[in-house]
Amino acid sequence: MGRYVVRRLVQMVPVFVGATLLIFLMVNVMGDPIAGLCGERRCDPATAARLRAEFGLDRPVWQQYLTYMGNVFTGDFGTAFNGQEVTELMATAFPVTLRLTLIAILFEIVVGVTLGVVTGLRRGRPVDTGVLLLTLVVISVPTFVTGLLLQLLLGVKWGWIRPSVSTEAPFAELILPGLVLASVSLAYVTRLTRTSIAENRRSDYVRTAIAKGLPRHRVVTRHLLRNSLIPVVTFIGADVGFLMGGAIVTERIFNIHGVGYQLYQGILRQNTQTVVGFVTVLVLVFLVANLVVDLLYAVLDPRIRYV
């Protein structure tokens, strides 16, 4: 187990370097960002040259990358064009997005898995058909449509919630955005759980458990669900990273100043430091989430061992 974790951690290094290098190059390919800083006019060449030097843009790309990575290891993620430290941006953005992701994941686990179990156990019944249709609708409607619609209905027409999230972004205000963010994944989790449960319901160990005279809820939770969760856990694990980085649309609709907002602004302003910094952290989140998922397999299924 310990050796496995170490091996996985070592494997992360090339993935990490490769991913950051790719992002670094991609942002660089978009061209010189200084031209966008002076409005509808040419930056005077002297100031532009000084700004380029300040942000390290006057050196060759490989040198920029090496300096950047060197700084990252000392905890210095550089400065955004408005003079703010990127670490400062991260300190304000990540907690917000983390809360949003947490709510979304909670929705996926609680609502998604529950619906999946219920429909999986009642295959072909009206409940099953109804939920299936519902998930189909949720999957096929784009997030921004669901988001805008719910925002308009709940926020403006009925006045139940504030249409936008305040700067502090407490949990209570993030419930609706979290639901919107989770909606598509939620539908997938429901379907995954349903299929898995329905398949395993007919397996031998379930029949044995029932024959032993175990109470139904114990059969379902301890035997059936535990064995059916592996694909679902894989999906949710990968989703953690996806939700954190992919919240751009949801964050825009609800005016949440999280990771998606910073990334969007970083890309628009072609601010390498911001974009690479945030993506670096997201890559780390992805890698760690994947590792945790793999370790969870062993917990769910004792037959899986890591050596």
Binding site: G36, L37, D44, P45, A46, N255, Q270
Partner: protein
């Protein structure tokens, strides 16, 4: 510091509860102590006067600073604010006298030195100020800001000299009669010593001399401004303060306005324009701003610069149905342009409706004839380049292309060429990579006809993106700048504008309006000619 703030609020709350009076001073009807919330965008550059070149940062500077001059929110005329008088006998040597009794909100007196230090800071290459070129008229600019990449040989502008506490002299490197009128621009604001002594702290919480002071500032999220009770100027805030909230998307701001979470949204998204009047029940404003959209041409490209092409450019201009596009796409928030300036200048200021004449009218047949006479489009085709990231540019570019295609009776004559980001778009322009007409928008820095012509069409001017050059135009602008009589100067500028017309240096498209919507709590909402709300005049309740 923090404790003190809390204590003040506590006292305010108690006072409000006991006597139902509001905190803060001021007079007039409405609740002078009430705070309104307004939409905002994250400023792109650090919030320094000489470093702010876009509207969002400009909003704040307009609230916390007052300069020598101020542009009247309605007429746009430059009026003395901190300046008691600005005198000159030759349009090159100016003596500025600062009014007595002005202070910064931290108590420091505003003196001649506050201005001179601020201008020297703004001009110095060392400080990386994006607006440094505004000081380019002042003598000695080349030493503190060598454009060619040479070493900076002086720290201060030789053309600025403090005479005494309230007087300083400005020497320009050339005659420029309009110079005093440019002094209302934010870059010319005075700065307190705190700005130089502890720069980081100042940026965290800017200190100025305007009717508002910064109460708290969370970068990228919100800025709370409160009315400054001891403000010595004539334009005291008529409300208790303004909370500027950063919105990523103007649609969300609009939704918040409808839900009652926001009091003032000053950028109504294009998609909401058709229902804004019914949604807000008349609490909506749509007034001309000093912004004009044009199509510029790459004159560095031989194809667009050969003799006869002026006919093609004129033909393209006549092919565009401005009326229809401003009606259907912009729903009246743009007005078809008939000259190269803006209606906010007024007739006396140099705006001349119809100066463009028939060249700006929609005449498809004439257009086709002119394009053919001029030798046709280079390669038989034309692409319009624009940045697709903001401002719903795609819609109107496609519409313009449709217009041209219809007029020329050729499905493939005109196509749009979107560029992903504004920075990339600007890059291609500065690197002279445009192969056809491209979007050029111009928001005035100050309401002078000079500002609509010289930066855009003078040889090698900073915003002359198409590198157009014409000796006659340059000579007329030089003469106009030397001219001391304002009316005569305006006439000379208009003659220069006629040169732009005859050569069709750029195709004028439309004048842009500013728009704003507000909640039932507010009254007296106005937009100034820079399309920024006049916050200090807004009444709450």
């Amino acid at each position: 510091m923090r404790g003190a703030t809390h204590a003040r609020w506590a006292v305010c709350a108690v006072a409000a509860a006991l006597a139902a009076t509001a905190c803060g001073g001021g007079s007039g009807s409405g609740d002078a102590g009430a705070v309104l919330s307004a939409s905002w965008g994250d400023p792109q550059n650090p919030l320094e006067p000489a470093n702010t070149n876009e509207v969002q940062g400009g909003k704040v500077l307009d609230m916390i600073f007052r300069g020598l001059k101020r542009y009247d929110p309605e007429t746009g005329e430059a009026e003395n604010m901190l300046a008691e008088r600005i005198e000159t006998s030759d349009s090159q040597h100016y003596t500025v006298t600062v009014k007595d009794g002005w202070t910064f909100s931290n108590g420091e007196k505003v003196t001649a030195r506050s201005f001179v230090d601020a201008w020297n800071y703004g001009a110095s290459l060392r400080n990386n100020q994006r607006n440094a070129y505004f000081f380019g008229y002042i003598a000695g600019y080349d030493e503190v800001h060598p454009e060619d990449g040479g070493e900076q040989t002086a720290d201060t502008l030789s053309g600025l000299e403090v005479v005494d506490d309230r007087t300083f002299t400005v020497t320009l490197s050339q005659k420029f009669s309009g110079f005093p009128d440019t002094l209302g621009y934010n870059a010319f604001a005075p700065l307190p010593r705190a700005f130089f002594d502890d720069h980081d702290a100042w940026l965290e919480k800017p200190v100025g001399n305007g009717p508002y002071l910064v109460d708290s500032y969370t970068r990228g999220a919100q800025m709370s401004l409160r009315a400054w009770n001891d403000y010595p100027g004539p334009d005291r805030a008529r409300n208790g303060g303004v909370d500027l909230k950063v919105y990523t998307d103007s649609n969300t701001a609009y939704t918040d306005l409808l839900a009652g979470n926001l009091d003032l949204a000053d950028d109504i998204p294009a998609s909401q324009l058709k229902n804004v009047r019914s949604d807000l029940d008349g609490r909506y404003l749509n007034t001309p701003a000093g912004i004009i959209q044009t199509l510029a041409f790459p004159y560095y490209d031989e194809d667009w610069n050969r003799p006869g092409m002026e006919k093609v450019r004129k033909g393209l201009s006549m092919a565009i149905d401005r009326e229809q596009i401003t009606d259907t796409i912009f729903r009246g928030t743009r007005t078809p342009a008939t000259d190269w300036t803006s209606p906010v200048l007024g007739e006396d200021g140099g705006f001349k409706a119809g100066l463009c004449g028939e060249a700006c009218e929609h005449r498809p047949d004439e257009a086709r004839r002119l394009v053919a006479e001029g030798g046709g489009l280079p390669g038989g085709r034309v692409t319009l380049t624009y940045n697709a990231d903001t401002g719903s540019h795609r819609e109107w570019v496609d519409a313009v292309c449709n217009s041209i295609n219809n007029a020329l009776d050729d499905e493939r004559a005109c196509t749009g060429n979107p560029v992903g980001t504004f920075a990339d778009f600007r890059n291609r322009i500065t690197q002279r990579k445009m192969s056809g007409p491209f979007r050029a928008g111009w928001q005035m820095d100050y309401p002078l006809v000079q500002n609509f012509l010289q930066p855009l069409y003078y040889t090698d001017a900073s915003s002359n993106d198409g590198k157009w050059s014409d000796e006659e135009f340059d000579a007329l602008v030089d003469r106009a700048n030397r001219e001391t009589d304002a009316a005569r100067a305006v006439r000379l500028f208009q003659r220069a504008e006629e040169v732009v017309r005859d050569r069709m240096a750029a195709i004028p498209l439309w004048y842009q309006n500013g728009s704003a919507g507000w909640s039932e709590r507010l009254s007296d909402v106005k937009l100034n000619p820079f399309s920024v709300p006049v916050y200090d005049q807004i009444k709450v309740g």
